[in-house]
Assembly symmetry: C2
Homo-oligomer: 233 residues x 2
DNA sequence: TTGATTTATACATACGTATGAATTATAATG
DNA sequence: CATTATAATTCATACGTATGTATAAATCAA
């Protein structure tokens, strides 16, 4: 009856299947308008599936939302996995010079910048921004599996550079200020496009020239902050 | 008939009048849940006025929303007016040392931090964050009268410190990175409270000890970025 | 032919807004 | 100061539409 089964490896010819289409459409419109503002009919129309496919595959609108969050988590973890493991392993292996740790921090922040400003992650980031302002029950998951791990890895780098305890208040706050330098490009995306006189919209992103600017600026700032502006690495 | 008149200086005894109550309630729930997610019945209930007072005083839900934005702009401009005029006048008067400009920048960022992290501006900031993610027609107003003036004042200070053209791309991006250090405390408010093990909620804000930490960190970072960490002002 | 999926349609509820009567406050009059 | 007239505000209720979800028939693939 109501119970949706996962189907016996049935692959729709040509088009992605209804379930995946609903997930994709859901992420985009939930990000654009927020959970409550989105109607099930709107999602179904965007996914080009019948309205009843939502109860069929997901049960309720809320369960569809939760699946969207799970999808985002999986996507984000794929993107961040490489850099995170790289930094964690280097931190675990002893004996890094101050300059090496600073370089790791630079590299991490630059990578985060690249990931979050890529235009194909826009539907995901909008949802994530919304969860920050107005957390749903799914927020816990995002916190545990995405926000906390990234934030605490920055804190670990800051701890190495300052001698602070990794989970101390001051270390967390210092990490937060650093991460803010990047997150301003997530939250302030529309603003910045307007400020730079660029067309706004979902298929726009900073040009590669500007992206290089920003990453250079961030590296410079990080080096000055932790290394003194008298020395280059 | 439908035309609402502003009433001849009629003051309701005790309670603020219905119009002001609706504005206040509207700002809070629009901030909490977003325009579309909020129902007129919810606003009326929170304001403790009759549902029909919304069409009576504002016409439509959207016009009520626009008035809320106008209220926020007025509030924000009051709060920022002092520091902005102060900095503008000092910049206009010639001959500032590098240290003096850095000090102005520190002071400005610290003041913005104080304003946006004060818990009594929470209903306003939530709405502002939403407008960044999902701009309404009212966004133009916010941009022109609030976001742009603040951003461009930071850019002006950066221009003084770097020799860059005030409205050059690089100067704007440098200003944006600096402002991001602060905006992370707006967007990341819930996250940070959780990260620090604090109770989350609307009546919570960073303790004054933590606020002092952050402002110290920001000043230190700004000095290092622009001044070299070998010198104190 | 069997089970999975898609479809059209239906349902109860909640929405934004409208309406006109009831109530209150202000101003005018005696 | 009391009384009335008038405008401003509040109220309960109603209307058409849109919502999330349910249902059962129709269609499709194995």
């Amino acid at each position: 009856m109501k119970e949706k089964k996962k189907a016996s490896v049935r692959v729709k010819s040509g088009q992605p299947d209804a379930r995946a289409r609903l997930l994709q459409a859901g992420m985009e419109v939930f990000g654009d308008f927020g959970f409550a503002a989105v109607t099930t009919r709107q999602i179904a129309a965007k996914a080009e599936v019948n309205l009843a496919s939502i109860p069929y595959y997901f049960g309720t609108k809320e369960q569809l939302y939760n699946e969207c969050i799970a999808e985002i988590l999986s996507f984000a973890n794929n993107r961040f996995e490489g850099i995170r493991k790289n930094i964690e392993s280097k931190l675990a292996a002893a004996e890094l010079s101050r300059g090496e740790v600073v370089a790791l921090l630079e590299q991490f922040l630059q990578t985060i910048f690249d990931i979050i400003t890529n235009k194909d992650v826009l539907p995901y980031t909008a949802l994530i921004l919304r969860e920050h302002i107005n957390p749903s029950p799914a927020y816990e998951l995002l916190y545990d599996r995405l926000f906390f791990p990234l934030h605490s890895l920055i804190a670990a780098l800051v701890a190495r550079l300052t001698g602070l305890e990794k989970e101390s208040e001051e270390c967390i706050l210092r990490a937060h200020v650093l991460l803010g330098q990047i997150m301003g490009f997530l939250l302030g995306r529309n603003f910045l496009l307007k400020r730079l006189g660029m067309e706004q919209g979902k298929n726009v992103q900073l040009s590669s020239k500007e992206a290089v600017y920003v990453k250079t600026i961030i590296s410079e700032y990080v080096r000055n902050i932790f290394y003194g502006n008298g020395s280059e690495d």
